[in-house]
């Protein structure tokens, strides 16, 4: 969940305007009586989108393998020693900046495209009346796929709970949506390796499922803000509009436009920090703080990460640099998950519907889950 729309302006020091998780990728619902396709869906631009996408994909594949040799060649022409800290940092920036931006465009496009098959309304319908257990598994999985932005967290919460989605199942959704972040997943896959990406996906879903189950079993309905129980949800029928392939491709591009234009500066910032770590932080010092033997570094990473908020695309280049330098994978990933899954602005938004006690339990359970994952990762990846 991103805090793109936190109107409360209570942004912490490390606040980045994050990609609003596919907010423009919603299925536009048409309220017309008999749901005739709008004229727009047959716009003359349909073919153009398709051709542009195919050309773009070919260009992407052709350029990508050349990024590293190009970056190395550029550094070789600069009057700096490649082996010096400055040379190291420069090589990192010149290679990573185009690489991460290209990956980001591809990931955001794919996410926007596939998310056009899902909507919050459909998800709610699928989850209504589901029991704890299977409901949590479904909610966590749908949480990854459903386009959703934190400005919708409260309406979504009200909508789910009043439609008969159990509280524990709703929590599984609310945890999975930000925790298993598609940008984080894609960048981990490309920058760190598929094993790590798959393990992150599995652990992220597990935390969302288990935490939701525990929260459901605790029966904390009484800890909602009192007015929430009295909310009467209206009924509305938004007829699903049939989207064509061109519509979905267009949805992919519009999320690229929306998200990349918003986060590119933060990506650059993350790569800058990554480059500094790469070039200037002594390896021995880093290992003594974030290495496998520093057992306390996992809880420290979680505690520091929870109130912080940064988008996955900012944090991943930093993660990459830390791992290159020998930081323990579990420690670094626990930090990343804490940063992107739990944040102060999100809690402030949720305070509208949850009591502080309930938020504390929520943060506690998710925090413990991330802690466990951190230690597990450190055990699994030697």
């Amino acid at each position: 969940m991103s805090t793109c729309c936190s109107e409360q302006a209570a942004t912490p020091a490390v606040a980045a305007p994050a990609p609003c998780c596919g907010e423009v990728v919603e299925k536009p619902a048409c309220g017309c009586g008999d749901a005739k396709p709008l004229p727009s869906s047959a716009s003359p631009g349909s073919g153009r989108w398709l051709i542009a996408t195919v050309i773009g994909a070919i260009a992407w594949v052709a350029v990508y393998p050349w990024l590293e040799p190009l970056a190395e060649a550029t550094v070789a022409h600069l009057p700096v020693d490649r082996q010096s800290p400055l040379g190291d940092a420069l090589a990192f920036v010149l290679y990573d900046l185009p690489k991460v931006m290209m990956l980001l465009v591809a990931i955001v496009f794919a996410t926007g495209f596939f998310r056009s098959y899902f909507s919050v309304e459909t998800t709610r319908r699928l989850l209504a009346g589901k029991r704890l257990g299977i409901g949590n598994v479904a909610a966590a999985t749908l949480g990854v796929a459903t386009p959703f932005c934190s400005c919708s967290a409260v309406p979504l919460f009200l909508g789910f709970v009043s439609a008969g989605v159990p509280l524990g199942v709703t929590f599984s959704f609310l945890i999975a949506a930000p925790m298993v972040n598609e940008v984080a997943l894609g960048l981990l896959f490309a920058l760190v390796g598929w094993q790590v990406a798959v393990t992150y996906l599995a652990f992220g879903l597990s935390i969302a499922i288990v935490a939701g189950l525990i929260l459901g079993e605790l029966r904390l309905e009484g800890w909602l803000q009192p007015w929430v129980r009295d909310v009467r949800m209206g009924v509305t029928a938004l007829p699903d509009r049939r989207l064509t392939l061109a519509d979905r491709i267009e949805a992919g591009w519009s999320s690229v436009k929306e998200i990349v234009s918003k986060v590119w500066l933060w990506v650059a910032l993350g790569i800058g920090v990554g480059a500094l770590i790469h070039g200037y932080v002594p390896t021995a010092l880093l290992i003594s703080i974030m290495g496998k033997d520093a057992w306390w570094s996992v809880p420290a990473a979680v505690v520091i990460g929870i109130p912080m908020y940064a988008g996955a695309s900012t944090i991943l280049p930093i993660i990459e640099a830390l791992i290159d330098k020998g930081a323990a994978l579990g420690t670094v990933l626990a930090f990343m998950m804490a940063v992107i899954a739990l944040s102060l602005p999100e809690m402030i938004i949720l305070k509208k519907v949850l009591t502080v006690k309930l938020i504390a339990v929520f943060v506690g359970i998710v925090g413990l889950g991330i802690l466990a994952v951190g230690y597990l990762f450190n055990l699994l990846f030697v």
Binding site: C4, C5, S6, E7, C20, G22, E23, V24, V25, E26, K27, P28, A29, C30, G31, C32, G33, D34, K36, L38, P39, S40, S43, S119, V120, E121, R124, P147, F148, C149, C151, S152, V154, P155, L156, L158, G159, F160, S162, A163, W227, D230, V231, R232, M233, G234, V235, T236, L238, K352, V353
Partner: protein
């Protein structure tokens, strides 16, 4: 006169949605009264779970994300939500 409500907590996308509706209405020369509904209970009463939502003459036509300009034109042109 079309009665238009934008449902949302005042997030940037909700603002953009309201601006888009106003701009398109001006372009088409359709008279509208635009109201922003920010109260969560009131938003819920319209039955949507994603914001911003758009309600035209009491009918929910959109939920979640910035609507497309072409769709907005369609809502504004239709007298009762259907196309002339």
């Amino acid at each position: 006169m079309k009665d238009i409500k934008v449902l949302g907590s005042g997030c940037p996308t909700c603002q953009k949605t309201a601006e888009l509706l106003k701009a398109e209405a001006d372009k088409l020369g359709v008279a509208i009264s635009l109201e922003k509904v920010t109260d969560y209970a009131a938003i819920a009463s319209y039955g949507i779970a994603a914001t911003p939502g758009v309600v035209i003459d009491g009918k929910v036509v959109h939920a979640g994300g910035l609507p497309k300009a072409a769709d907005v034109d369609g809502w504004l042109r239709g007298s009762d939500g259907s196309f002339p």
